[in-house]
């Protein structure tokens, strides 16, 4: 097969792939503007479903819960996970291999098992101790538990990429332990902390299964709402909510693309022959 034909073939393949990847999302967006209540025939452009969304208290409540859950859990996760990642890095010369398995555990556990285990655990505790009844609190705890490993690994990876002599240089330059943390460690870790925060947010908003099993009657999130709604069949209302969620994902995607581009502008190395 000639180079040219291969290139053309791959190009066609690529566009087909993109079509495959975006068809479901496009369909959801498309039918959310459907004037009639159908996902098979398009009856004209309309915003009625969006209007209904904003007057639907249940949906607004679910939205608030989703955002609150994501923000709270992510904030807690970057603190706990950041500390864990730092501790793991700082003491990497000791025999801590058991710790890495513990960190991996939430990442490899199937989410259905994770969710069910949390559910029965919280129910048992609620029965015996009267605390941790299923609700936003239990959801936050469950989310933090699966977010922490991601944060820890990201922070650890960033630290591993540092020249170890930097830590010594800071000491050599009169920085006390507190000053080292404030003027060296934290500034260097800021990008890692920001990306792990965004990652944690994404993981939380994307989660359905774990939220479903740890939710209480008042703590429905958008994914749970959608799930209950589509048991009765896909409606344009569901498509409208889904479209809004897809739109927010796209916004994050664009932001991350721009964030990747910007640092490149200023860090072109300026090599001069003599120095």
């Amino acid at each position: 097969m000639s180079e040219r034909r291969l290139a053309v073939g791959l190009r066609v393949f690529w566009y087909l792939l993109l079509a495959f990847l975006y068809a479901p999302l496009a369909v959801v967006v498309f039918f959310s503007f459907n004037a009639i209540n159908s996902s098979a025939r398009f009856g004209g452009f309309s915003l009625t479903w969006y209007e209904q969304l904003f007057s639907n208290d249940a949906i607004i409540g679910a939205l608030v819960n989703t955002v609150a859950l994501a923000l709270t859990s992510s904030l807690i996760a970057i603190v706990i996970g950041g500390m864990l990642g730092y501790g793991f890095y700082r003491y990497r010369l000791r025999r801590l291999s058991w710790l890495i398995w513990l960190i991996y555990l939430p990442m490899v556990m199937p989410d259905i098992i994770f969710g069910i285990a949390e559910m029965i655990f919280f129910i048992a505790i609620d029965e015996r101790l009267g605390i941790l009844a299923p609700g936003l609190g239990t959801m936050i705890i469950a989310h933090v538990t699966f977010q922490v490993p991601f944060v820890a690994l990201l922070v650890n990876a960033r630290l591993l990429g540092l020249d170890p002599q930097l830590f010594e240089a800071a000491q050599d330059l009169y920085a006390s332990p507190w000053q080292r943390a404030r003027f060296f460690l934290l500034p260097v870790l800021v990008p890692a902390i920001v990306s792990s925060f965004l990652l944690a947010l994404t993981l939380s908003i994307d989660d359905f299964v774990i939220s479903f099993f740890t939710a209480g009657p008042e703590s429905t999130t958008l994914p749970i709402y959608i799930w209950s709604a589509i048991r009765k069949g896909v409606t344009p209302e569901v498509n409208a909510i889904a479209t809004l969620m897809i739109a927010s994902v796209f916004v994050v995607a664009v932001i991350s693309l721009l964030a990747q581009r910007r640092p490149n502008a200023s860090s072109t190395p300026n090599r001069s022959a003599s120095s």
């Binding site: 050599d172 920085a175 800021v190 190395p269 300026n270 120095s275």
Partner: protein, 356 residues
């Protein structure tokens, strides 16, 4: 013995190391009962092969490691248990260790910032040192944009701006290519003299050590083999290890001796030679051709290899079953080719004897 008090008067020595020992895992002694005195204002080099303990010794001075036993005194102050951030010592690290999240200006000013120096003062001092070292046009650049040589200078500025009692340099030039290295060697030497600051420099390159140092110490497996000026160490090495490390290659065993000379595989050598059973002949002291006539011991040798080095030419010679390396400055003498028989002369002046 009275301890020099903290905050007491500065003594003549900038650094005093007394019986310092440091071991790591499995009892390997990286530094083994080392005694050292470095005078204020001198350019002192620690020289040795990798693993000899020179870097560990430097880290003991910096406070990045604490000695298992022994005592270190810097600027008249005893350094027992004193952490790096409380020592008036600064280090230029081998990998430069510049903070990636700060630009050049804020890297240089880091130490001053940590010492709570006033912002205006920091600004002035940073600018002054940058001019001195020749990087004042780089102050607002990001570290990622700098070349190797530029980074090295920033690392230097960052250390010097704090006006420490002692500046430690851990093989700062080893990552640079030869041409840049040569230039920076001279600049560093000039800078040290200008500042009058005590420099302790670590390297494994004996030529670099000789070019830059006022005095140097050769280390071998955690111990100091010899301390002295570059001339003294090169011309009169105290031990075989030192001689070999300084690049010497002509070792001739001495079988026997009497009042007038010594017996060697080369033959009998007339003259007064030092005690010891190995004779060290420095290549530049072996006389060739006509000059051999000025020496008391003359031989014939066959040229095995000719190494032209521009300013000098080296000849590998086979002389009476002994292999010798001779070197002479190129002043227009006709060159010898491989296979030539030439006259060679050895005089006791300029030789050293060592014991194995």
């Amino acid at each position: 013995m009275a301890d020099p008090a903290v905050g007491g008067p500065r003594t003549e020595s900038a650094i005093q190391v007394h019986a310092a020992t440091k071991s790591f895992e499995r009892g390997v002694r990286a530094v083994d009962a080392v005694d050292l005195d470095v005078e204020a204002g001198e350019f002192f080099t620690l020289l040795g092969p990798s693993g000899c303990g020179k870097t560990t010794l430097l880290r003991l001075l910096a406070g990045l490691e604490q000695p298992d036993s022994g005592r270190i005194t810097i600027g008249g102050r005893v350094m027992d248990g004193v952490p790096p951030h409380r020592r008036s010592v600064n280090t230029v690290f081998q990998s430069y260790a510049l903070f990636p999240h700060r630009n050049v200006r804020r890297n240089i000013g880091f130490g001053l910032e940590m010492q709570a120096v006033a912002a205006a003062q920091i600004d002035a001092r940073v600018r002054r040192i940058a001019e001195l070292i020749g990087i004042d046009d780089l102050l607002d650049r990001e570290i990622a944009q700098l070349s190797g040589g530029q980074r090295q200078r920033v690392a230097l500025a960052r250390a010097i701006v704090n006006e420490p009692d002692v500046l430690l340099l851990d093989e700062p030039l080893s990552a640079l290519d030869a041409d840049l290295r040569g230039r920076l060697q001279l600049e560093l030497k000039r800078l040290q003299r200008q500042l009058g600051m005590t420099f302790v420099f670590v390297t494994h390159d004996q030529e670099e050590a000789m070019v830059m140092s006022d005095r140097m110490a050769v280390l071998d497996a955690g111990r100091i083999a010899q301390v002295g000026t570059p001339d003294a160490i090169y011309e009169s090495p105290a031990a075989l290890f030192v001689a070999r490390f300084m690049g010497h290659q002509n070792f001739v065993p001495i079988h026997g001796r009497d009042a007038h000379g010594v017996d060697t595989p080369l033959g009998r050598l007339e003259g007064v030679f030092g005690a010891g059973d190995q004779l060290l002949l420095r290549p530049e002291t072996i006389r060739l051709d006509d000059e051999a006539k000025t020496t008391p011991n003359r031989f014939e040798a066959v040229v095995e290899e000719r190494l032209y080095r521009g300013g000098t030419t080296e000849y590998r010679l086979a002389c009476e079953s002994v292999r010798l390396l001779a070197s002479r400055a190129n002043r227009g003498q006709p060159a010898h080719q491989v296979g030539d028989r030439i006259h060679v002369g050895v005089s006791p002046r300029g030789t050293t004897t060592l014991t194995d």
